[in-house]
């Protein structure tokens, strides 16, 4: 198992392996066929499974995401790609009012094993409508599981879990972790991936670095910024624990609370907008559980501004290692 795979290949491998086993799985989305997905997450699938099971759609996100509901109601297990999460606004009704609620509203009669996978994240000057994270929105509305892998091992395992789950799962991948040749990606995200199928449980966070002075919590690309910050802090004698939440819904409160109990300090790093989102939720979860902190918790979050285009502007607002280091130091 010395095989390293970039995240985009880990995802498409997971889908392919599950599709081989289960005829009910099929994939829909824009440019997911011949193109293989703009970010490669469906690469090779059309060749393997043909155009019936790997369906390039017209541009009509409401229709094909709504269609996932109809197909699921008939026992299918659709995987749909929403090319960028930024586009959710044209299809949100089908996602959150129908797919997310059908199980509950039907008193359990209907199951919705739908995976909605989508690209998120900025850092390459794609500006205000192609760089957002927005996972906080989906974590806010009930009925959707929300997962966000940060490396290719988790990407495969979480995708297989998402496909096998009988509930709708929002599967976010960060463009800047996919290991695409044309998009910068930290080499750390491309890790060893077993050939055989395996699962990473939805709802389990991971302590990716142990430490004793402060807990840094993040997802996706921010996990690396946190790890790099932790390395620097180490040199200055500050021992940071880093948690990769991996799932926002369900949230692994235990791992989070155990860590903060131990360290007594909390920094939340969030590439999604700062207010009314993930960073607030993590902090509230910690404090409402009565964990006493040695210093106020700090957020290193994307500020409440649209994503600007110009590189200098975007860099200024994106959370990064330096900002995390400063945040940690501010509470030591």
């Amino acid at each position: 198992m010395a095989r390293k795979l970039p995240m985009y290949k880990a995802i498409s491998e997971a889908i392919a392996q599950e599709m081989e086993k289960d005829e009910n799985i099929f994939v829909m989305g824009e440019d997911i066929g011949a193109y293989g997905g703009i970010f490669g997450a469906t690469s090779g699938l059309l060749e393997k499974f043909g155009p019936e099971r790997v369906r390039d759609t017209p541009i009509c996100e409401s229709a094909f995401i709504g269609a996932a509901l109809g197909a699921a109601s008939k026992g299918m297990r659709p995987i749909v790609e929403l090319m960028f999460i930024d586009f959710f606004g044209v299809a949100m009704d089908q996602i959150y009012n129908h797919i997310a609620k059908a199980h509950y509203m039907s008193g359990g009669q209907v199951k919705m094993p739908v995976v909605i996978m989508t690209a998120m994240g900025g850092g390459y000057s794609d500006a205000a409508q192609h760089s957002q994270c927005l996972y906080g929105l989906f974590a806010h509305v009930p009925g959707l599981k929300v997962v966000i892998p940060s490396n290719s091992y988790d990407a495969k395992g979480l995708m297989i879990s998402a496909i096998r789950d009988d509930n709708p799962v929002m599967y976010f991948f960060h463009k800047g972790l996919m290991g695409l040749g044309w998009m910068p990606s930290p080499p750390e995200a491309t890790v060893e991936v077993p050939e055989e199928p395996y699962t990473v449980p939805i709802g389990e966070a991971k302590v990716v670095r142990e430490g004793s002075d402060v807990t840094i919590v993040g997802v996706a690309k921010m996990v690396y910024e946190a790890l790099w910050a932790a390395e620097e802090l180490e040199k200055e004698g500050i021992s940071a624990e880093v948690i990769d939440l991996r799932s926002l819904v369900p949230l692994d409160k235990k791992t989070l609370l155990d860590s903060v109990k131990k360290t007594g300090r909390l920094v939340v790093v969030d590439e999604d907008y700062r207010s009314y989102g993930m960073s607030g939720e993590v902090i509230a979860t910690v404090v409402e559980n009565g964990i006493s902190l040695e210093a106020p918790p700090v957020r290193v979050a994307y500020p409440d501004v649209p994503v600007p285009y110009s590189r200098v502007l975007e860099r200024y607002v994106l959370p990064d290692k330096e900002k995390i280091i400063n945040a940690v130091k501010s509470i030591m």
């Binding site: 709504g66 269609a67 109809g70 197909a71 199980h103 509950y104 509203m105 039907s106 199951k111």
Partner: protein, 335 residues
């Protein structure tokens, strides 16, 4: 098109029975709805709280279409869906219990009148205008991928035909040649907005051309005409020849929802609706043509009244769900 004479009497009586059952059901439900809401109307009070959209006057649309459907066929309705539910064969007792918010309801009281689900006959509906169209497309995909011959019917009102989902879904179903029948139930009103002020064409069937699919407008006064048109569309879909669009002209006998003052509605319009009653019309036809006798119809009526009463009794006598149930069932297989 078949003439009424060529349709078996059994079928015609079945059509009548279902239409009458729906009318009986709706008018009975209306009575129950106002219990606890008089003298002052309070939407949250009484045995049936919340909004209630009844379908009186529109029975022909539901029955004409659903006569051709099997339990495996899916029907996805709107906020106004009792008639389609009944015509599709949804369990009347459980449906009523759901509308009364009872534990014995289709969804144990979680769904309510706008969210009726009966998986055993592939019925569902929702409160979002236009949401049905894409969902039916998905059923069509499943049929195609599984090689089954079931079809999907999406219902929308005349108002729904101006939503983006209408366009997206018809295009997608057409491009993929899916077994979907899109039904526009045109009652001339979207709440208070008349069709001519909301819709740039007089007949939505004209919009079928935008997707290269057949489009027909049919007079809902004539349930047999609806039956014939729907037959063709369903058969076409089953044969794998792709989607169709049917617009059925009906008249809304009641307000948009119960409690609607209908200030916006010209008196003549309501009068017209009463003259365009498809149930009375069909009854007259059956009698005039000598297809059925008054006695036969009366017997059906009595059976319907009894069945509806039993459903109401079942609902009324059922227990409410345990409050803690509210927290359960968000996710399958979990908590």
């Amino acid at each position: 098109m078949e003439k009424i004479e060529e349709i078996p009497k059994e079928t015609l009586l079945e059509i009548y029975r279902t239409m009458h059952k729906i009318r009986t059901y709706e008018e009975t439900l209306a009575e129950w709805y106002y219990k606890g809401k008089t003298p002052r109307f309070d939407i949250s009070a009484g045995p049936i709280p919340g909004e209630l959209h009844l379908s009186s006057g529109q029975e022909s649309a539901a029955v004409g279409v659903c006569m051709h459907l099997k339990p495996e066929d899916a029907l996805i309705g709107t906020h106004r869906a009792h008639h389609f539910a009944i015509a599709k064969g949804v369990n009347l007792k459980k449906m009523t219990a759901e509308i009364f918010g009872k534990a014995t309801g289709l969804s144990g009281g979680k769904g309510g009148h706008m969210h009726l689900f009966d998986a055993s006959v592939n019925f569902s509906c929702s409160g979002i205008v236009g949401a049905s169209f894409p969902q039916a497309v998905g059923v069509g995909i499943a049929a195609k991928l599984k090689g089954e011959d079931y079809v999907a019917v999406a219902v929308g009102g005349d108002g729904a035909a101006n939503q983006g989902t209408f366009h997206e879904a018809l295009n997608l179903a057409a491009v993929w040649k899916l077994p979907v029948i899109f039904v526009i139930e045109d009652n001339s009103w979207a709440i208070s907005v008349p069709k001519e002020k909301s819709t740039a064409v007089s007949k939505n069937s004209e919009r079928a051309a935008a997707y290269g699919i057949p489009g027909v407008s049919v007079d809902g006064m004539d349930v047999i005409a609806v039956y014939e048109v729907a037959k063709e569309a369903v058969e076409r879909a089953r044969r794998g020849e792709g989607p169709s669009l049917i617009e059925i002209k009906v008249y809304r006998l009641r307000g948009h929802f119960e409690g609607d003052p209908q200030h916006y509605r010209p008196k003549e319009d309501l009068e017209l609706a009463k003259q365009k009653d498809p149930l009375l019309n069909f009854e007259k036809l059956l009698l005039e043509k000598g297809i059925a006798t008054e006695e036969e119809l009366n017997k059906i009526k009595e059976e319907n009244i009894k069945e509806v009463q039993e459903a109401i009794d079942f609902a009324v006598n059922s227990p409410y769900p345990e409050p803690e149930e509210a927290l359960k069932g968000v996710f399958a297989g979990g908590e």
